[in-house]
Symmetry: C2
Subunit: 624 residues, 2 copies
C-alpha cells in the first residue's frame, strides 16, 4: 500500500538508461537555473531600504531614522551591485567553458586548490541553497500576503505548504518540474518589464511624485519621514543586503551537464541572458524606488506591490497579475535549489565526504535523500525565523560570496597551471572576481554579524570539519577492507549456540536450522532467573526429546546480554573454532505489532555485533 501511494505521488520509476532524455533546452534551462537570480529583483531593493530606513536591523542595530536622505544611496548601491554582477557573470563564463561537466565552486576548488578549500566552497554553497529555499519561499508568501492582506501569523503555515508541494514535485524528477515552472518565469519577466515601463512613463513623462502617505501604514509613514544621518557601516550593511541579488548566479555553472548539447555553449548563453535580465531589472526597480519611495514597514514590506498598486491606480487586474507572477518566480527560485542542492551533495558524497545515501538516486533519477534533507532544513529555518524574509537575509549572502571567492580563486590557479589560449585575459577576469567577491564576503560577515551572519560564519567551518571527518572515516574503512596481499581462503570451523527461552515452535525451528548448518559443535543456551525456571526448561527438553545439549546460565540481575557474553567468552577459551554462530529465534508479526516483540533480542544483537568472530543468525518464525 505504501508502495502504491509512493507511485501515485512520485510517479513510475525511470531507468538509468533513460537519463539522456532528461536534458534541458535553453528555453527551459533559463527558468530552471536563472529564476533564483532573476527573482531577487522582487526583494533585493526592499531589503536595501529595510536597512537604510533603520528597521529590521535586529537587536544590535541603532535605529538611525534617516528620513528622506535615506533614499539617496539606493541608486549608487544598485549600480555597484550591477558592476559586481558583470564581474561575477564574466568569471563564471570562464568556469563554464573550463568545466563543462559541471560542479561549480566545489569542483573548481577541488581540482585547483585542494580538499579543504573545496569543502569550504561546498559547505558554503549547501548553506546558500538551503537559504535560497527559505528566503524565496518567505518572499513569495510575502507577495501573496501583500496582495490579499493576510496577517503575519499565516506566513509560516503557507510557507511550509509551499515547501511540501515543491518537494513532491521535485521527487517526481527534474524535467517535469522544469516544464511545470517554465511559464511562470516568463510571466514574471513580462509583468516586471511592464511595471518598469509603466513606472518610467509615469515618473519621467507624467512626472508623478512619491507615493502619498495615505497608501502607507502608520509605521511606514513614520520611518519614511524620519530625518537622521547615514554612517558608512550602515551603508555597507545596506549594500550587503543588496548583494543578495547575486545569489543564484553560480547555479548555471553547477548545472552544465543538465543542458542539451553543446552543454557549455548553451549554459554560457543562458548565463549571459540571465545577467542582462537581472541587472537591467534590478537597476530599473531601484530607480523607480528612489523616485516613488515605496515603503511598507517591517513585516509587510513588498515594495513591488506598493509600486504596482500606485502606478496601476489600485488593486486591479495588473496589480494582481504582478503579485501572482512575483509569487511564482520566487517559488521557482526555491526550485533552483532543489535542482542544485541534491546535485552538489551527490558529488560531495561520491567523493566520500558525505554519507553514501546522498549519492543514491531514487526511482525517478532524482537524488531523493538530498531533496528531502534540503526541504527539512528549510522548514526548520522558516519556523525559526517566523517566515520573515528580512530576518533571513543577513544569513544569506555570506555563503553565496564564499562560494564565488573559492570558485574564482580556483580558476586563477587553473589558468596559471594550464595556460590555455587567452589565459591571461581569463586570469585577469578571475583574479578581479576572486578579490572582489572575497572582500564582499568579508563586508557581509562583518556588517551583518550581529543580525545573523554569525550563523553561517560558525556553521560553515563546522560543516567542513564534519565532512572532512566523514572523508577520513570512509578512507580508513576502505583501506581496512582491502584484500591483503597473498590472500588465501580459509575453511572455518564453527560452533553454534542456539539461544532459547521456553520451548515453542520458534525455538524448535531455530534448533532445526542450527543443525542444518552442520557445525563442529552445537549447544542450546538459556538464561534463567531462578531454579524453578531451569527445572521447567529441562522438563520441556525431555518432553520434546531434543537431541542437542542444553546449557543454562543463571542471571541474578535479570539481565540477558551479560550472561550470554560471559558464556561465549568461556567457549572461546575452551575451544579453538574460528567462529561462533549465535542462533536467535525471533517472532515475526505484522509490522504494526512487531514492536511488541524481541526487544531484549535486539539489545543482545547490537552488543554481539561488536564481538569479534561472532555471527548472529535470526531465525524468523512467522506468526500472523
Amino acid at each position: 500500500m505504501l508502495q502504491s501511494l509512493k507511485r501515485l505521488v512520485i510517479g513510475r520509476p525511470i531507468a538509468t538508461a533513460d537519463e539522456g532524455h532528461q536534458r534541458l533546452r535553453k528555453i527551459i534551462a533559463l527558468p530552471v537555473f536563472a529564476s533564483d537570480a532573476i527573482s531577487s529583483t522582487a526583494y533585493a531593493t526592499d531589503e536595501i531600504l529595510v536597512v537604510l530606513l533603520g528597521v529590521g536591523g535586529g537587536a544590535g542595530a541603532t535605529k538611525l531614522g534617516v528620513g528622506t536622505k535615506a533614499w539617496g544611496p539606493i541608486i549608487p548601491i544598485a549600480i555597484i551591485v550591477c558592476i559586481l554582477m558583470v564581474i561575477v557573470v564574466l568569471s563564471y563564463r570562464q568556469t563554464i567553458h573550463a568545466y563543462p561537466s559541471g560542479g561549480g565552486s566545489y569542483i573548481v576548488s577541488k581540482e585547483n586548490l585542494g580538499t579543504i578549500p573545496s569543502l569550504i566552497a561546498g559547505s558554503s554553497l549547501l548553506v546558500d541553497y538551503i537559504l535560497t529555499v527559505a528566503v524565496s519561499v518567505a518572499g513569495g508568501v510575502l507577495a501573496i500576503r501583500t496582495a490579499t492582506g493576510l496577517s503575519h501569523k499565516w506566513a509560516v503555515p503557507i510557507c511550509l505548504v509551499c515547501i511540501l508541494m515543491m518537494t513532491l514535485a521535485n521527487l517526481r524528477g527534474l524535467k517535469e518540474s522544469g516544464s511545470l515552472f517554465a511559464g511562470p518565469t516568463y510571466f514574471y519577466i513580462v509583468m516586471l518589464l511592464l511595471l518598469i515601463a509603466t513606472g518610467f512613463y509615469r515618473i519621467f513623462v507624467q512626472h508623478v511624485g512619491p507615493i502619498p502617505d495615505s497608501l502607507l501604514s502608520e509605521e511606514a509613514k513614520a520611518a519614511r519621514d524620519h530625518v537622521g544621518s547615514l554612517g558608512l557601516f550602515l551603508l555597507l550593511r545596506a549594500f550587503s543586503s543588496g548583494a543578495v541579488a547575486l545569489s543564484g548566479v553560480e547555479a548555471v555553472s553547477n548545472g552544465v551537464p543538465a543542458f542539451k548539447k553543446p552543454e557549455a555553449k548553451n549554459a554560457a548563453a543562458t548565463l549571459v541572458w540571465m545577467g542582462v535580465i537581472l541587472g537591467s531589472c534590478f537597476l530599473s526597480v531601484s530607480i523607480i524606488a528612489a523616485k516613488l519611495k515605496p515603503y511598507r514597514g517591517e513585516h509587510d514590506g513588498n515594495g513591488l506591490g506598493l509600486v504596482a498598486e500606485y502606478i496601476y491606480h489600485g488593486k486591479g487586474i495588473l496589480f494582481w497579475m504582478t503579485m501572482i507572477a512575483t509569487f511564482s518566480i520566487l517559488i521557482l527560485a526555491a526550485n533552483t535549489a532543489y535542482a542544485d542542492f541534491p546535485r552538489l551533495s551527490s558529488i560531495i558524497a561520491k567523493d566520500g565526504f558525505l554519507p553514501h545515501q546522498f549519492a543514491n538516486r531514487g526511482d525517478r533519477l532524482v537524488y531523493s535523500n538530498g531533496v528531502i534533507f534540503l526541504a527539512s532544513v528549510a522548514c526548520v529555518l522558516i519556523v525559526a525565523f517566523s517566515g520573515d524574509i528580512s530576518k533571513l537575509i543577513p544569513l544569506y549572502a555570506f555563503g553565496v560570496f564564499m562560494g564565488f571567492t573559492f570558485s574564482q580563486a580556483g580558476m586563477v590557479r587553473h589558468h596559471i597551471k594550464l595556460k590555455e589560449p587567452h589565459w591571461r585575459v581569463g586570469l585577469t577576469i578571475n583574479f578581479i572576481g576572486a578579490v572582489t567577491t572575497g572582500v564582499i564576503a568579508l563586508i557581509v560577515v562583518v556588517s551583518k554579524f550581529k543580525q545573523g551572519a554569525w550563523i553561517p560564519a560558525l556553521l560553515i567551518p563546522f560543516m567542513v570539519f564534519f565532512f572532512y571527518s566523514i572523508g577520513k572515516h570512509y578512507q580508513r574503512v576502505k583501506k581496512s577492507l582491502e584484500v591483503p596481499e597473498g590472500y588465501k581462503p580459509v575453511r572455518h570451523t564453527h560452533y553454534v549456540v542456539v539461544l532459547v527461552g521456553k520451548v515453542n515452535r520458534g525455538v524448535l525451528e531455530a534448533i532445526n536450522y542450527a543443525r542444518s548448518l552442520s557445525p563442529e559443535r552445537i549447544i542450546a543456551l538459556s538464561v534463567v532467573q531462578d531454579p524453578e525456571e531451569e527445572r521447567h526448561l529441562h522438563e520441556q527438553w525431555d518432553r520434546y526429546d531434543i537431541q542437542i545439549e542444553l546449557h543454562t546460565v543463571s542471571s541474578p540481575y535479570r539481565e540477558l546480554t551479560r550472561p550470554v557474553m560471559g558464556f561465549l567468552d568461556e567457549i572461546d577459551q575452551e575451544r579453538d573454532d574460528d567462529i561462533i554462530t549465535v542462533v536467535i529465534p525471533e517472532s515475526v508479526t505484522k509490522v504494526t505489532s512487531q514492536w511488541l516483540h524481541n526487544q531484549s533480542a535486539l539489545a543482545l544483537k547490537a552488543r554481539l555485533l561488536y564481538r569479534p568472530h561472532t555471527v548472529v543468525v535470526s531465525v524468523p518464525v512467522h506468526v500472523d
Copy 2:
C-alpha cells in the same frame, strides 16, 4: 562509559534473591504509600474555593461571583468528603485482607468481574497515577512560589526539574527512596497539626476575624467580596474538586506485598492511620478556611500559605517551615505514584495486556520502563497545562473514583462467591462503597466535563481497547508458537546466497563463512547498475580466484531490494530446498560512525524478515 555513568546515577545492580530485604516497615510504609492521600490536605480545600469563588473554571464556566455566601458550603462539603473517606477506607480494609498479594482494583476486578472490567480499572488507575505526579508536583511548586513570590513563568521549569530528580531517585530503588522521604512526611504532619492548633486557638480563643484585605491580591479581593448565588451544579463541581482528597487511598492496597510480614495486618493498620490523619486534617483546614477566608486568586492560590502568614504574624520561621513541609509532602505524594505505576503496569504486562518490557525489572529491582514512562507522560502534562494545579484537578478525580468503583464491585462479587466468615458485613460495606463511589465518578465527569474531565473519559476507553488488542495479539502469538501434536524434527536442506557489491575483505570473509555452512548449494549474487560494473566484478572474481558461482542481476531502477527478492523467488521455483540463507557482509565500525554504513542492507534485511523460509545472516567485518 555509558555503563559507568548509569552505575554512578542508578547504583550497583541488586540480585533477585535480595528482594526480601526491600520490604518496608509500617513507619516507612506510611510515608511511602500514604503521603499522596495526606498531601491532598495541602490543596483540596483551595480547589473547592477556586470553584466556589468562580475562578479557574476554564473557558466554559460561568463566573458566578458568589461573595461571602460562597464560604458557607465549605464545611458541609468537607464533612461529606470525610464520610466518603470512611466508606472508602472501610472498603479497602476488606480488600487488603482478601488480597494480601496486592494489586488493588485491577486484581480484584480481574478475579471477580472479568477481563474488560479489570482493564477499565487498570487504565483508570494508571491515568490516576500519572495525574498524581503532575498534580502533586504542580502543588508543591506552587507552595514554593507562594513562599518566595516567584512568578508563574517559573512553574513549568521547576516542576520538570522536580520530576527529573524523583525519576532518578526511583530508578535507584524503592527502599532507598522510602528512607529518603520518610522524614518530610512526618515533618508535614507535625507542621500541619501545629498550624491547625494555632489556628483554632486564634479563632476560638482569641476570636480573630477573616484575613484582612491588605494581605490579599487585587484579583482575590474582588473575587472574595463579590456577591451572587450558588447553583446546585456549581456545588457539585466544588464537591468534585474536594473529592480529590481521596486520591491515593487505594495506594496501600496496591502495595501490600511491599510491607513487612504480616503484610495484610500491617497494611490495614497503615490504611486506618492514613484515614484518621487525612480526615481530621482536611476537616480542620476547611474549618479554618471557612473562618479566616484565605483566598489568593487563580495562579497563586496556596491558601495554607496565606493562613500560615496570617496566624504566625508574617513570613517568619514557622511560615517557612510550613511551606517547606508542604512542598516536601507533595513531592512525596508524587513519589507514591512512582511506587504504584510501575508495579501495576508490570502486573498488567505479566497478564499480557501491556508490552513485556513493562514486566522486566531493571538492575535495581525496579520496573525501570514503567518509571520512565510515568515520568515522561507527567512531564507532557505539566507542559500542556502550564504547571497549573487548578487546570489539572478536573482531569484527576474521574480515574480515582472509577478505580474505587470497580474495586468495590469486585469485592461484592468476591463476598457472594466465597461466603467467608462475616461475609454479610463485608458485602454491605463494599456494596455501599461501590454505589457511592460510582455515583461520585458520574458526578465528577458530568460536572467537570468541559473543564477537562472529558480527557480521562475519552482516554480510558481508548486505553482499554489498546490493552485488549495487545492481549489478543500476545494470545494469538502464543497459540501460533505452540508446538504441534506429534512434532518431529526435520532435517533442513539449504541454499546459501551471498550478497556481494565489489570484492573486498568483508565479501571474502562472508564467502568463507557461507562455505563453512556446508550448504547443498551456494551462489554469490550481485546487483549491478550497468555492464561496466558487471565486467569489473567478474574481473575481480577471476583475480581472487573465488571458487563459487557469481550471478549478476541488473537493476535499471538503481534498486537493491526488488532484484534480490526476484532472484530469491526464481530459486524457490527451481529448487526444493527448505530454506534460503542470505549472507550479507556488513562493515562494523565504532558506534558513532555506524550510521555511515549498511543503510541499504538494513532496508533489504527488513524486507527479507517477512519472506517465508528465509534466514538472513550478517557477517560482520570489524573495521576500527
